[in-house]
């Protein structure tokens, strides 16, 4: 009988309100005891004095590239990256080849992820082949285990298809997740439209491209009483629209990626393609709006949009480089440094954004640090000062703009599915 005894850890659980320094005994993957000065024979004892245990973190927006693009990432390497970043659960987007638009691909992903310490949940495509033309067999996909629907990487732009998707998916307790972008305004763009794009002569992507689609989508969501989740929110306009939708009581939720609260489009002056992602880095005003949105509950979730690309794919002219950066192994450090230490969020609020809320939105069981519960935990060192080194990442890819950045706070391990994974 495998057992683990975590000693002297601060335990923080936003669901139960727990915030205490105690010991925690896990037996056979279940929380057996919680209390002061526990001891157990035959258990692996780990002193976590000064460290923090929280419910397992969940990233509801990753690209694991399998099937189809395994040279960038696969489910095994993606899961290792997630574990190193402190995540016990991820939801992977369906822009694979073939796309996740039928039950067999959903089953394939579950099969590939079986036995891993990180739970990998597929998000299925909204439309067949992600073409935005006709909705995918959502009931079959949901029954097979899809935890949401998204054509991420592309928007559902056709308003008739959008309406049908929102209506049809309202049968489920998981959302339609929109990649909000207007294809006409977006065409050929490679960075945010601002004084920086004007100076650099790079083809611009206006904030309007996101703002207009979010505003429209919220109208549709209200009209059909749908359930809508906005992926990678990045603009003031989108945040205002989501705020108004929430005030009306609509089923609208939103996520923010760490790079959208940690970097501005000034970073593009380097012409480094590792600052090229979609939506693009925005202005300092948008960055502030994202922090306010997280603080005010307008943004429910921090999600990385982990998007691996091989070095040779990214080491090209800025306009030709693919969009996307990896994020799983820097999310905790960026969140602690930019949000917790800057007092935008308390620790329980931060854990809500990184665990409770994303799990609720994609319909996963609620986690509690309580006796009798399955142990699904993340171990954090909130005071650790470290420098990002992409060469130490577990991901197959290295496309991070944060290489060399000094951060405070990191994950030191996860416990899930009976397995303890400690960081190097």
């Amino acid at each position: 009988m495998a057992s683990f005894l975590f000693k002297n850890a601060r335990m923080v659980d936003p669901v139960t309100g727990l915030d205490t320094e105690q010991d925690l005994l896990i037996v056979d993957g279940t929380i057996d005891k919680l209390g002061p000065s526990l001891s157990a024979s035959d258990s692996e004892e780990i002193d976590l004095k000064g460290k923090t245990i929280v419910p397992g973190l969940c990233d509801m927006h990753v690209h694991f590239r399998e099937p189809g693009f395994e040279h960038k990432e696969d489910i095994r390497s993606g899961a290792a990256s997630a574990a190193a970043g402190g995540f016990t659960a991820v939801a992977c987007m369906p822009n694979t080849d073939p796309p996740i638009d039928n039950a067999s691909v959903v089953a394939y992903i579950y099969e590939k992820a079986k036995g891993l310490p990180v739970d990998v949940y597929p998000i299925a495509a909204i439309t067949k082949e992600r073409k935005g033309e006709a909705i995918a067999p959502m009931v079959e996909l949901r029954k097979a285990g899809a935890v949401g629907f998204s054509d991420d990487g592309s928007p559902v732009h056709n308003t008739k298809v959008l309406r049908i998707a929102l209506e049809y998916a309202s049968m489920f307790d998981v959302p339609v997740i929109q990649h909000a972008e207007d294809p006409h305004l977006f065409t050929g763009g490679s960075m945010n439209e601002s004084i920086v794009s004007t100076e650099l002569g790079l083809p611009p992507i206006p904030r309007l491209s996101e703002d207009a689609v979010v505003a429209r989508d919220i109208m549709f969501t209200e009209y059909v009483n749908g359930r809508y989740h906005l992926a990678h929110m990045s603009t003031i306009g989108a945040a205002n629209a989501v705020r108004a939708a929430k005030e009306k009581g609509l089923h609208v939720t939103a996520e923010v990626a760490p790079h959208h609260f940690a970097l501005t489009d000034e970073a593009v002056r380097s012409y480094d393609s590792n600052v090229k992602m979609n939506p693009p880095l925005r202005t300092a005003d948008d960055v502030r709006a994202m922090k306010e949105a997280l603080r005010d509950g307008v943004a429910d979730v921090i999600a990385t949009d982990h998007a691996p690309h091989a070095g040779f794919e990214k080491e090209v002219e800025f306009v030709y480089a693919p969009f996307g950066i990896i994020g799983l192994e820097t999310a905790v450090g960026l969140s602690v440094t930019e949000l917790l230490l800057e007092q935008w969020l308390t620790l329980p609020q931060l854990i809500e954004k990184l665990s409770t809320n994303p799990r609720r939105i994609i319909g996963l069981p609620e986690l509690r640090i309580e006796e009798g519960q399955r142990a699904n935990l993340t171990l954090l060192d909130l005071a650790a000062e470290w420098t990002v080194d992409v060469h130490r990442f577990k991901s197959k890819s290295r496309n991070s703009p944060f290489h060399g950045r000094a951060l405070t706070g990191r994950a030191i391990g996860i416990f899930n599915n009976g397995q303890l994974v400690l960081a190097d």
């Binding site: 004084i195 794009s197 004007t198 002569g201 083809p203 090209v316 002219e317």
Partner: protein, 308 residues
């Protein structure tokens, strides 16, 4: 002899005034050489220059090549059409392979903004940007400034208006950066749909009425309308563009005073500029071309001989 602060000429943004002045002053020396019966000096003897042109260009490439040969450099031309680029090789691989053959200076034109920045950080050669996307075309702006200096004596306080599709123009950006650094008052003119976002933050005045723009100007730099891109996209018809923004003799006559007319070429007669203006007394379009060779000689000389 003074030397440049910059190692590469990737653009004019953030290039110090002393560097621009040094290039313009050196140009005068090379102009004198161009008037000699034997137009060749041994300045870059033993240096190898590669003209790496990933985008079609006739006049800029010829201008650079003449400048290189007149400085006695060894010259190699590389055009994307005849290259491994068509076989899928990346820009970085292409550049590194060429560099492995031991070249000193790379003159590059590329459709992607920032291509020169990208390569200069990863290679050891000196880079001269011959146009990168809608970003910069620094030697064009330098030759424009050289021509304006010849005509007006000084750029300081000179009112210059750039007319046309500013959003997609590398010539406009380089001129704006260079002219502002040299103390000129810079304006732009065109329809709002051809102005890039927040342009006024650069410190330029914006006109949408070409007659008002002419009132402001000591000199106008008339940009080529890119027929293949712009018609029907950012403005309705060439006819309407010509009527609204075209520089015509009629407009200049009504102004009642001289205004210097530049054009980076090649010109679309009857679209952005009327023939009578292009060939008229205020036009400095051909002197621009001559100055272009001398400016490129100055840049090649100053970049190519700068101590490591």
């Amino acid at each position: 002899m003074a030397s440049l602060h910059i190692d590469h000429l990737l653009g004019l943004q953030n290039v110090p005034k002393e560097d621009i002045t040094l290039i313009l002053d050196s140009t005068d020396t090379f102009l004198e050489i161009l008037d000699r019966p034997i137009k060749k000096v041994p300045t870059l003897q033993g240096k190898t220059v590669v003209n790496l042109f990933f985008e079609n260009s006739t006049r800029t490439r010829i201008s650079f090549e003449l400048a290189e040969r007149r400085l006695s450099a060894d010259v190699v031309n590389f055009a994307a059409g005849s290259s491994s680029v068509k076989k899928g090789e990346t820009l970085l691989d292409t550049a590194r392979n060429i560099e492995a053959m031991k070249v000193d200076i790379v003159v590059m034109r590329h459709s992607a903004a920032g291509a020169g920045h990208f390569l200069s950080k990863r290679c050891t050669s000196r880079f001269i940007n011959a146009g990168d996307g809608a970003h910069e075309h620094p030697t064009q702006a330098l030759l424009d400034m050289c021509t304006l200096r010849q005509k007006h004596g000084s750029l300081d306080g000179l009112n210059v208006c750039i007319i046309g599709d500013i959003a997609h123009s590398r010539v406009a950006r380089s001129n704006i950066y260079g002219l502002l650094t040299m103390g000129a008052d810079v304006a732009v003119c065109g329809p709002p749909s051809m102005m890039p976002y927040d342009l006024e933050k650069l410190g330029v005045r914006i006109f949408h009425d070409v007659d008002e723009a002419l009132q402001f100007s000591d000199a106008v730099n008339v940009l080529r309308i890119q027929l293949e891109r712009d018609a029907g996209a950012d403005f309705p018809t060439l006819r309407e563009y010509n009527q609204t923004f075209g520089i015509t003799r009629d407009r200049l006559d009504r102004l009642g005073r001289e205004v210097t007319v530049l054009h980076p070429g090649p010109i679309n007669r009857g679209v952005e500029i009327e023939s009578e203006v292009a060939d008229g007394p205020y036009s400095v379009i051909l002197p621009q071309v001559t100055n272009g060779v001398a400016i490129r000689m100055a840049v090649l000389y100053l970049i190519g001989t700068k101590a490591e």
